[in-house]
């Protein structure tokens, strides 16, 4: 059986503002912020109280319901503020960085003699565990439940995604160390998808590589799982973002928790889209105000890609999992007869007086307008065209909305994550919030079934 995966259903959304293949060292951020909300479902128990000095890699907090999972500080410095919301929920932990970085000495790890238990213990204690996520439920992996396989996507197909072939170049040693360690944690295989055979991930040993092609979401890890080894009831698979393998690998090789990451600054509102070397939690303003975004412009800054990222304020911070910062214009304006006039400057999968089908390679400058109001589900067959998984998208969304757990389970809820429904949400004529519906459905299942 060939390991290649080719999908036909999907949609490549081509936008203006792709990053130039140059890397700049971002201005060193003075303050770093870690937001527990980046880790879905985690209830943080603070370790580093306000005023504590921490080294990079020191524990900031752990998860109340899974106490072995530690969350590390990305930098050395002083915890200057713990912002709290209602019911004293921790919203953000703000760290003032030292002028020169000091790393907690976690000692290099001997992979050859390592066992599954020792790898796990090392990743948990060092703060690298949050990079490992699981399906079902799309949350941080439960370390006590071994996965049947581990999946890593080495091909980013989302709109304006950072090119992993470029950002991971030269990191082969770290990547290899990380996948070797992860391989010890599963009885099954470590599956990696790559877009080209020149990918830094293509030459790794001890893994199963799959060459994927086709439109987005061919690079989503959910697509890889569905085509290779879908999750059944009672099973668990783990996923790790390819760029986070580098951090895990460096920790194993050197003993340093180095939260450095190459991030793409993209989008039509960015003057000069390009790559930056920066650190998890750093201030976005260090990226966007030099040849970036014009001050006072009516733009939306997104930590992540335009389909699944989080909206942040211009003085916000890079979140824990993103390697893209997208900036696009806000669309908070009216458009005369926008619902019936011919449309040339927006993307559509239909041809209802919309003409994006005429030029497949044209790049668009889309804004955040919803292009219509929220309605009940009406049209059918539209989602299926952009949804490659062997699941009925509208039926599962409706099951989530009326909270029928049996039906959600039967229709494949264990296999999906919100990001799998990003494209169906994009094309939705009724403007339904698909990713939110799926997230709430997963939360309900997690609560009721566990």
């Amino acid at each position: 059986m060939s390991n290649d995966i080719r999908i036909k259903k999907g949609l490549d959304i081509k936008l203006i503002g792709e990053a130039d293949k140059t890397v700049e060292q971002a201005i060193i951020s003075n303050y770093y912020t870690i937001r527990p909300e980046d880790f879905h479902g985690v209830i943080p128990k603070l370790v580093a109280k306000e005023g504590t000095s921490v080294k990079a890699g020191d524990t900031l907090f752990f998860d109340k319901s899974q106490e072995s999972v530690m969350f590390a500080s990305p930098v050395s410095g002083k915890v200057i503020e713990v912002q709290r919301g209602p019911k004293r929920r921790i919203d953000a932990i703000k760290i003032e960085a030292d002028k020169s970085q000091v790393y907690a000495d976690l000692a290099a790890f001997d992979l050859n003699s390592a066992t599954a238990e020792s790898v796990k213990a090392h990743l948990l204690a060092s703060g690298c565990w949050p990079f490992v996520k699981q399906r079902p439920y799309d949350v941080i992996a439960n370390p006590n439940k071994p996965p049947k396989a581990i999946f890593i996507s080495g091909y980013a197909s989302a709109p304006l995604a950072a090119d992993l072939d470029f950002t991971l170049k030269g990191k082969e040693a770290e990547l290899q160390a990380a996948v070797t360690a992860l391989g010890k944690l599963t009885e099954g295989a470590v599956h990696i998808s790559v877009g080209t055979s020149s990918s830094p991930l293509a030459g790794l040993t001890g893994v199963t590589t799959h060459k994927v092609s086709g439109p987005h979401p061919s690079g989503n890890v959910g697509t890889l799982i569905n085509k290779v080894n879908p999750v059944n009831k009672g099973e668990v698979v783990w996923t790790v973002n390819a760029q986070d393998l580098v951090i895990i690998g460096e920790l194993l090789l050197t003993g340093k928790f180095n939260a450095e990451r190459i991030v793409a600054l993209v989008g039509s509102s960015v003057e000069k889209p390009r790559y930056f070397k920066t650190i998890i939690g750093s201030e976005i303003s260090t990226l966007i105000y030099d040849k970036g975004v014009s001050k006072g412009g009516n733009d939306r800054v997104i930590s992540g890609n335009v389909l699944s990222g989080k909206q942040i304020k211009p003085d916000g911070n890079l979140d824990y999992y993103s390697n893209v910062v997208s900036v696009i214009p806000e669309g908070d304006d009216y458009e005369l007869f926008g619902w019936n006039k011919p449309v040339f400057n927006k993307i559509s999968t239909s041809r209802a007086m919309t003409f994006s089908w005429l030029s497949k390679s044209k790049k668009y400058d889309l804004n955040t307008n919803t292009n219509g109001e929220h309605r009940a589900f009406v049209t059918t067959g539209v989602y299926e065209e952009v949804f490659p998984l062997d699941i009925y998208p509208m039926q599962i969304l409706k099951a989530c909305m009326y909270k029928d757990l049996d039906e959600m389970e039967a229709l494949g809820m264990y296999e999906v994550a919100p990001e799998d429904f990003a494209l169906t949400e994009f094309v939705c004529v009724s403007k339904q919030p698909h990713q939110k519906i799926i997230r709430e459905g997963l939360d309900l299942m997690l609560k009721e079934i566990g």
Partner: protein
């Protein structure tokens, strides 16, 4: 942009009040709203429900215009003012202003009543229930005048629209929630409540009923009788219209259903725009052809004789069934309603096939009213969720099997 700003101020003024949905409906009709995405996808595709519905209406406009010409043409032909068309689709006898004006003054009131009453109810429900006015009725409101006889009294239409919108749609929760096609619910109501106005040979030509009444009152005039081809066939009489007339639409019938040519063009436009389901349209035609062939086979093997009351319709060549009656219109514009049709792609094949199959069967066997498209679609509307259930179960079973294979 003074208008834009003034409307925006009004929107803020009405916000939170009872009248907000009514104002917003008119506002969003003029301007695409300034609403932006929240978390989730930050960008959205260009299509919304208004655009989708508008595309369907555009596909029906040729049928409406043709219907206006045809109403006048059938009338003038019957009263002997003009000759039958001779030179194909662009015959000047047909495309005359005289014809158009008769049809225009007859059909525009139908359109106005349909939209006025229907949208009035939609606005009322939106204001009472505090939700936005939904676009479903934009298409229904255009369908209704196209599927009724031209002479239908306006009050009947109004009563039927009230019934169809309230019972057919709003009680289920509005657009997207209904089980039966609202336009067909309206037509079915007319059909069962006022059968004399929906069948027979007096209602299909403008002025026929009036003329009958005048004659009954003692006027010395020739009767106008316009029978649909199905009516003629059901009575076992010979059809006087040529196949070309049937295809091009120069025949009596409901306002918009006669021109198969324009319906096919509308259907192709909808398929091209990816709004209408080609699966339903195609499978429905296949279903009709299969049933038509079965009936043709019954006739050719001599199982029934010419004296049988079904002989006329059964012996109709199978492909003529696609051209006459409301079959083409129903298949293209009504069976494809996404809310009431099957929602899965596999289900659409089954659903469409059965519509075609049952349409011709009911058409032939229904002694009182020789047309079956309306009833076939309504019946399959009811069964669509069942079809979908079994299609989805196929996917569920596959998942169960995968799990079992793992456990074993």
């Amino acid at each position: 942009m003074g208008l834009k700003n003034n409307l925006h101020k009004l929107k803020l003024k009405y916000k939170g009040t009872k009248m907000a949905p009514a104002f917003n409906a008119i506002h969003t009709f003029l301007y695409l709203p300034d609403e932006t995405t929240h978390n989730g996808t930050h960008i959205k595709a260009a299509d919304d429900l208004k655009r989708t519905m508008n595309t369907v209406i555009m596909a029906m406009v040729p049928c409406l215009l043709f219907g206006m010409f045809n109403a006048g043409y059938q009338h003038n032909l019957q009263v002997g003012e003009i000759q039958a068309v001779t030179v194909g689709f662009f015959s000047p006898e047909f495309w005359a202003l005289d014809n158009f004006m008769i049809g225009f003054w007859k059909i525009i009131p139908l359109v106005i009543v349909s939209y006025g009453v229907g949208l009035g109810i939609e606005f009322l429900f939106a204001v009472i229930k505090g939700h936005e006015v939904e676009e479903g009725y934009l298409v229904t409101g255009m369908l209704v005048p196209l599927i009724v006889p031209v002479d239908i009294p306006l009050w009947m239409l109004a009563v039927a629209v009230v019934f169809g919108v309230v019972i057919g749609k709003e009680v289920f929760g509005g657009t997207g929630m209904n089980i039966l096609n609202p336009a067909l619910t309206i037509r079915a109501f007319l059909f069962f409540a006022y059968p004399t106005w929906m069948s027979g040979d007096k209602v299909w030509v403008e002025g026929a009923v009036e003329r009958t009444n005048e004659i009954a009152a003692g006027a010395n005039l020739d009767a106008i009788s316009g029978e649909t081809i199905l009516g003629t066939l059901a009575q076992g009489k010979a059809v006087t219209h040529s196949v070309a007339d049937m295809f091009l639409g120069f025949i009596p019938g409901s306002v918009g259903e006669t021109s198969t040519l324009l319906i096919v063009l509308g259907g192709l436009f909808l398929v091209f725009a990816k709004i209408g389901s080609w699966r339903i349209m195609l499978s429905s035609c296949v279903g009709a052809i299969v049933m038509g062939l079965i009936f043709n086979g019954v006739v050719s093997s001599g199982w029934i004789t010419e004296t049988s009351k079904f002989y006329g319709l059964m012996s109709t060549e199978f492909w003529h069934h696609l051209l006459i009656g409301g079959f083409a219109f129903g298949t293209v514009f009504m069976a494809t309603d996404p809310v009431t049709a099957s929602q899965t792609n596999k289900g659409k094949w089954i659903y469409g096939f059965l519509i075609g199959f049952l349409s011709i069967m009911i058409r032939v066997f229904n002694p009182a009213y020789p047309e079956g498209v309306m009833l076939a679609i309504l019946l399959m509307n009811v069964f669509a969720p069942t079809i979908d259930h079994y299609v989805v179960q196929g996917n569920v079973k596959k998942r169960m099997k995968r799990l079992k294979a793992k456990v074993a």
